[in-house]
Amino acid sequence: MVLVLLIVSLGVFALVALLPGDPAVAILGEGHPASTYDDLRTELGLNDPMLTRYADWLGGALTGDLGRSVVPPRSDVSDRVVSALPVSVEIAVLGLLIALLVAVPLAMWSAYHEDGVLDRMISAGTFAVLSVPGFLAGLLLIMVFVNALDWFPRSEWVRISDGDLLGNLHHAFLPALTVALVELAMFTRVLRSDLIVTLREDYILAARAKGMPPLRILFTDALRPSSFSLVTLLGLSLGRLIGSTVIVEYLFSLPGMGSLVVNAANQGDFPMVQGAVLVIAVIYVLINAGIDLSYGYLDPRTRKAHV
């Protein structure tokens, strides 16, 4: 995993460093004397060999120092990431929680009443949701719940650290729901098809023959063996959502990681891009390592034989 992270960091660094365009020009604008640009490049360390720059950057990153933004007010990259990350993580986690809470019962109902009326409706519904672009769903939610019903506020963000948890949740709910819609449609479809396969297993019949009620069988016998694809998907979604909910962040004016990266990239703020992308990548790798570990819980057969 360390190796994976090292490769990721090198990739992130190289990607940004190899981008065309001169950061000095991007920062100062055109029309200055050549020496001014050169002074700035020296100050930013851009005249050093690339490996030296990478080593410096990586060394800093390991101690939590991701450098400073090159755009005024030249704020600390770590500080900006630390302030943006909780927003993205909260929206992603909350969105996935909503998606799971809705998807698991829907999938169970669908699988248990396979080809029933409601199953077909759920299938059609999830398919419809999947084919609606996320920004459209977000816009619709804003139109209905903010503009028409005025149930939720818009364009503000209350931090949990301000001590107002309810206010925070109030602001986070709509963006989380926007994120959740597509995910829950995917989760429902994946879990439904896995459940249908599991429900045909002999041990489900054996559990029925013991007189266990259907709901109990669904939760205690069928759910765990059926959740491999779901958990894999969950991990991928979480990693993806933390870094790339740009559209949702724009719609709801959230100060999250997505907007941070996009703004920085537009301004040619390469340390910011590198730092933020590195953090996102590390989180992604860690989440997926966690997912791999969870397989052992899901299916004891995949655990290593213990003597």
Partner: protein, 326 residues
């Protein structure tokens, strides 16, 4: 005489398949007294497993299934009960042992949980009491180191051990009737005998009626009081196991018994086999369903369905005892 434990009356199970209706069980009647053992024998596709599951009530009326006739357990008709009513009987009054122990245990559940969950559900035992009882059950079915085994997962046990767990699972809440559907088919020959002996001794010890479903006559002979031979969804002959084996009256039973491999047969002699294929149940032959494969069939057999008279459904029952088994 008291009412029998199990009464099956003219039971028919009909499935709607994409290729048309199929009558898998076609008018079967049986009775079983408490503590009695009954063998149900027939080849693959004869409807014996469907019969077992219909008796159990696992197969019941539904969108593509029609069950007519009656299955009465202690007087209550399984197929007239609500789903909740059936569930209350499952495990406590009738229980089932399935064919393949490799697939009938949940791979994500510990062995002990398989046993304790029904004890807690049906008997309302506490977690600790259910666990103690689960270990006792494992000991009862002859599993060494039951405490350790209870904490293991099914994949850590051998096939024979797993089938013992499946049996223990069925016995957990003291059922009065156990339906064992091909309980040894998936096991090694050496383990088969152990499992059958175990079932037999448990049935005697716990005073439990047993239905042993098998395609293997050797499994049934000597272990059951009575036997019913099924062919194409119907019982073609039934009676005391000893009598049926000594003097089968239906040509099909006779042919089945003759096809048991024998140790005293001349070496390199051909195994006697029943010619032809089992009938297509979507379009069964008219008249006696065995007629196309029967060595004694006559014109009447091909047009007129023989009724089960005096425990045999044949127009021309065999009269001679089989020489080989006499």
């Amino acid at each position: 005489m008291t009412a029998p434990l199990l009464e099956v009356d003219d039971l028919r199970t009909r499935f709607l398949t994409p290729r048309g209706p199929m009558v898998a069980v076609d008018g079967v009647s049986l009775t079983l007294a408490a503590g009695e053992t009954l063998g149900i024998v027939g080849e693959s596709g004869s409807g014996k497993s469907v019969l077992g599951r219909t008796i159990m009530g696992l197969i019941t009326n539904g969108p593509t299934t029609t069950v007519t006739g009656a299955v009465r357990v202690d007087g209550a008709d399984i197929h007239q009960l609500t789903p909740q009513g059936r569930r209350a009987l499952w495990g406590t009054k009738i229980a089932m042992v399935f064919q393949d122990p490799m697939t009938s245990l949940n791979p994500t559940k510990r062995v002990g949980t398989h046993l304790s969950e029904s004890l807690r559900f049906h008997r309302g035992l506490s977690r600790g009491a259910a666990r103690t009882r689960a270990v006792e059950l494992l000991k009862l079915v002859g599993i060494p180191e039951p405490e350790r085994r209870a904490g293991q997962y099914p994949h850590e046990l051998s096939g024979g051990m797993r089938q013992r767990v499946v049996i223990a699972m069925a016995l957990a809440c003291d059922p009065k009737l156990l339906i064992a559907d091909e309980p040894t088919t998936a096991l090694d020959v050496t383990v088969q005998k152990q499992i059958l002996d175990l079932l037999q001794s448990l049935a005697e010890r716990l005073q439990m009626a047993t239905i042993l479903i098998s395609h293997d006559l050797g499994t049934v002979s000597g272990r059951t009081d009575r036997v019913a031979v099924m062919y194409a969804g119907r019982v073609v002959e039934s009676g005391e196991t000893r009598d049926v084996f000594a003097q089968p009256r239906h040509p099909y039973s006779g042919a089945l018994i003759e096809s048991i491999p024998r140790l005293d047969a001349a070496s390199h002699s051909l195994l006697p086999a029943i010619v032809g294929q089992p009938p297509n149940m979507l379009n069964p032959p008219s008249g006696c369903r065995f007629a196309p494969r029967c060595a004694f069939a006559q014109d009447r057999c091909r047009t007129e369905t023989p009724a089960l008279v005096d425990d045999v459904a044949c127009h021309f029952p065999l009269t001679q005892a089989l020489e080989v088994h006499a």
